[in-house]
Subunit: 288 residues, 2 copies
């Protein structure tokens, strides 16, 4: 049970976390800080949060946990602003999709990684963004990856893990480089492909007809292209090397497939599609 949680940024993730913790009775009060006054007022009016402050020092005063839930590119400024006002007993965590960039930003602001700092990444979300998209069950049965630094205290790590357990998530630990490599492949790359695919279609003559005749499979395939552009811009900038590497792996695979189509290679095409189908069927969710 937490007395006070401070949420910096009330978007889909932050807003859902706040709502879920309040519904679970795990926190007495959630105080939010958000640069978007319309968004944070909406969050208060709809009960996602209890109160909000426009002064960061007041917002974080006496907080058990401070959760940074802004796009990764904004973490550096938030960390610099937190340095003079964060209480020594407050645990600091985040929800970023990239972990090295967050660790670097906090380390730069604080001089070294604070012992009460525990980076985290909930593997949950939808293509929608902002407080309006928040809902209490977003993290139910979802994974949260903790990437504690070598300086993170056991007590702080445990507090962050407990918070995520309280909203129904499964908590796992992983190293920062492994995290960023895995999510470059499973999350960042498919977002790039979906964005690029939609833009490619829009560039074709008959693009109006193309989108009109889109079948159901296309809506699933492109859903992630509706995701928050700022968040994904920041992911690209902060996981650049890992993302470029997986884009190149993909491009080389697509290029080989293209060559197989061009030469009409039945055996190769069937083998490629069968292999992908086997893998995808093996890892598909139980609900399918």
């Amino acid at each position: 049970m937490l007395n006070k949680l401070t949420l910096i940024g009330v978007g889909l993730i932050g807003g859902s976390l706040s709502l879920a913790l309040k519904k679970a009775g795990y926190v007495k009060s959630v105080c939010a800080y958000d640069v978007d006054e319309v968004n944070v007022q909406f969050a208060k009016d709809t009960g996602l949060i209890d109160e909000f402050e426009t002064d960061l020092a007041i917002a974080v005063r006496d907080a058990d946990i401070v959760v940074i839930a802004v796009p990764v590119g904004a973490v550096a400024d938030v960390a610099l602003a937190l340095k003079p006002v964060l209480g020594k007993d407050s645990v600091l965590t985040d929800v970023g999709s990239v972990k090295q960039g967050v660790v670097d930003a906090v380390t730069t602001a604080f001089g070294s990684p604070p012992t009460n700092f525990v980076p985290a990444h909930p593997i949950a979300g939808t293509e929608k963004s902002g407080a309006r998209a928040a809902f209490a069950t977003l993290f139910q049965d979802k994974r949260v990856m903790l990437t504690p630094t070598s300086e993170s205290s056991d007590a702080a790590t445990q507090l962050v893990a407990d918070m995520w357990h309280a909203v129904g998530a499964r908590v796992e630990r992983i190293g920062v480089p492994e995290h960023d490599a895995i999510f470059a492949a499973t999350s960042h790359l498919p977002h790039m492909l979906a964005y690029s695919f939609v833009n490619a279609l829009a560039s074709i003559d008959m693009s109006e007809e193309i989108f009109t005749y889109a079948a159901g499979g296309l809506h699933d395939f492109t859903r992630i292209a509706s995701s928050n552009p700022i968040m994904w811009r920041d992911v690209c900038l902060h996981n650049r090397e890992q993302l470029l590497a997986v884009i190149d792996t993909f491009t080389s695979n697509l290029s080989a497939l293209r060559a197989g189509i061009e030469r009409g290679d039945e055996g190769f095409l069937e083998q490629q599609f069968s292999s992908a189908k086997q893998i995808r069927d093996r890892y598909k969710p139980p609900s399918e």
Copy 2:
């Protein structure tokens, strides 16, 4: 109301069409012909079809409509086998995802496009295949594209349209080249990307962890990689030029995005993602 429909190939599409027509009371009897005896026996046992024949001449005798519902690559052989046995009053149609290849195959077999031949493409399906995947509501509120040839009679075209209306589909007409260009972009290309993406991930070190940590968005994105490999091999082979063209458009778009990531171009990345999001949001299905 049809007395007899003959279905050549009882897969997801053929099986669902038969079931839906029977449920709608639109056909007295569906007779199937399928090279896979286990599959067609299953279809009969579960009531998807009324009977099956292993002799094509008997199967199509006195049929009001003969529906070819096999992978596009198998249409040429089916058309050759149909030529000597198809009654002059039987209307011939198909369900292929590619239309030029089907028209060419039927034209080759019959010498010229028969007046009772009306190519069609229901824009419906799932990633599953075979008679076991069939269900009666597959075509409800879905589009069916008719691509009548210059030889197709009005009566035959109307009969095929009526059949699709009977299962709840919306019928539209389009030219063969336009059809193949649009579906290269909206359907064939995303399947290539999904197959290639899954194979690329499988080629990376840590691929086990990669698939284990797959988030919800990835399952949606890769669902179409579970589709029938034979069907998609045939689509590639029969819509080659159009497919190569859209692969190249996509690759050039992805390459520009990659360059933007490499040079850390915030403005370009945000513009690319915002543009894709706007387009995708504009065309998203009402259910989202």
